[in-house]
Amino acid sequence: MLQLKKLTKTYKTGDQALKAIDLEVPKGQVLALIGPSGAGKSTMIRCINRLVEPTSGEALLDGVDLVKLGATGLRKTRREMGMIFQEYALVERLTVMENVLSGRLGFVGFWRSFLRRFPQSDVDEAFRLLDRVGLLHMADKRADELSGGQRQRVGICRALIQNPKLLLVDEPTASLDPKTSRQIMRLITELCRERGLAAIINIHDVALAQMFVPRVVGLRFGEIVFDGPPNGLTPGKLTEIYGEEDWEATIEAVDDNGNEIEAAQ
């Protein structure tokens, strides 16, 4: 469904953030993108919805090349890609409901959105999503009154109300505690399964990635150096991605956690 062909991004400073990335994501597949800071994870997902303009290459979403789209076409196509952000990126001074409904901005006209008169179907869908993530009672609270985990749930609602085909998720757990991190990852993967969504999840926590996703892509210096199932991440592979370190402990911990979660279910 999503196909990246020789996608390249060179910053003005001359830094090559992405070096001719080739990647294919089939419909409904959730994949984790791992790699050290500065490997180009964030740049890659931002090049897909063009918050960052790629330098060259193609990014095909259902056969449409995103790189070549004009302003109107880009807006239309951005609606099909929901994005979830590091540090939530909610508009803090708006209410939870306004934040969720802002996911529909691409579908309603300016004055309608300005006067907050969204179609009833959108309002209903917002209520349903908030109920799904357990925040219905918070609908009229201001976003900055919420805790970190709650804010990220609102962020998820905002992405899902777009009714997207693809989720782009940028470090969803970066500022959350370990327990909330797992809850958020579980919520994202569950929702993807329910709705048959594909997702690319940028994540720096290898253990968390291995726990929840069927496919892991490793990025180092703007190049893909690993692509496979989570159990293929051997200490050797991790060294290739992150550099030298004792990886046994990480992998063992994951195994333990995996058992624990299975036992709990």
Binding site: R116, F118, L136
Partner: protein
């Protein structure tokens, strides 16, 4: 918390909660504002014929900016500008020097109560009185000329700078100051080592900002006879010499821009 059911919400319309939740109060505020606006606009007498006639003159004035006349009244402009700069420099120096002790005195955490009350009183009086009103009174007392302007600007500088300095001292880091005091320093040493380093960068920044303000204010003091470029400007307007007025305004804007530029550099260096 979960007493709100999804079924109750579905199909109900959603409105953003209002800023003022009480509807009666909200409508009262809106109605009051509208009523005031109508009353205010109704009581302004605008002679539209006069305004229409004035548009030509306004346009002439804008055109004057394209050909400002620095030459025909060069000596007046130069004398006025020099007087403005002189007043600014002298008043800033004196004002800053006086506002330091008053600022120290107006900070509750380092001054005893009687001193604090006295200094706060001076600050309050200085801030409440407009520069131009002070200038009128001082001109009445000391006669026309730059001395009245100099005293006005010094007085205004004291109110401005002392207040901000005092607030800065009150919000400083107590631990650093206590550490110096603990070493057995005298009061002056304590101010010099414990307080001064913490507030100095901001004091420098504010002083330069105040010089900028003093210059701008010095341009109007001439209107009431307290010296500076204002008198020249006033004469130019009275004689409808827009090109000379434009020249003066351009020079004021230019000097203010230069001062802002310098103050930006200085502030970046001291902080």
């Amino acid at each position: 918390m979960s007493d709100i059911q999804l079924e109750d919400k579905l199909g109900t319309s959603w409105r953003k909660p209002h800023f003022i939740t009480n509807p009666a109060l909200r409508w009262a505020v809106i109605a009051g504002f509208v009523a005031y606006m109508i009353a205010a606009v109704m009581t302004i007498e605008v002679d539209w014929g006069r305004v229409y006639e004035g548009l030509d003159r306004g346009w002439a004035f804008i055109l004057a900016f394209t050909s400002p006349d620095f030459v025909s009244r060069a000596s007046d402009i130069w004398a006025g500008l020099l007087e403005s700069i002189v007043m600014t420099v002298a008043a800033s120096v004196v004002g800053i020097l006086i506002s330091i002790p008053i600022g120290l005195g107006a900070a509750r955490n380092i001054a005893p109560l009687p001193v604090y009350v006295a200094c706060r009183g001076i600050v309050a009086i200085s801030r409440a009185l407009q520069e131009i009103i002070v200038a009128i009174l001082l001109v009445a007392i000391f006669g026309f000329g730059p001395l009245a302007g100099f005293l006005t600007l010094s007085f205004a500088t004291i109110g401005f700078l002392s207040k901000l300095l005092a607030e800065d001292i009150e919000s400083m880091d107590r631990v650093q100051a206590e550490a110096i005091r603990a070493s057995g320093a005298r009061w002056m040493q304590w101010i010099n080592y414990g307080v001064q380093p913490q507030v100095m960068p901001r004091l420098v920044g504010l002083s330069i900002y105040r010089i900028d303000i003093n210059f701008r204010e010095s341009a109007i003091l001439g209107l009431v006879g307290a010296g500076g470029i204002g008198a020249t400007l006033n004469t130019a307007f009275d004689r409808y010499e827009y090109d000379t007025a434009a020249a003066i305004l351009i020079m004021i804007i230019g000097i203010v821009m230069a001062l802002e530029y310098v103050s930006g550099i200085v502030r970046a260096r001291v902080q």
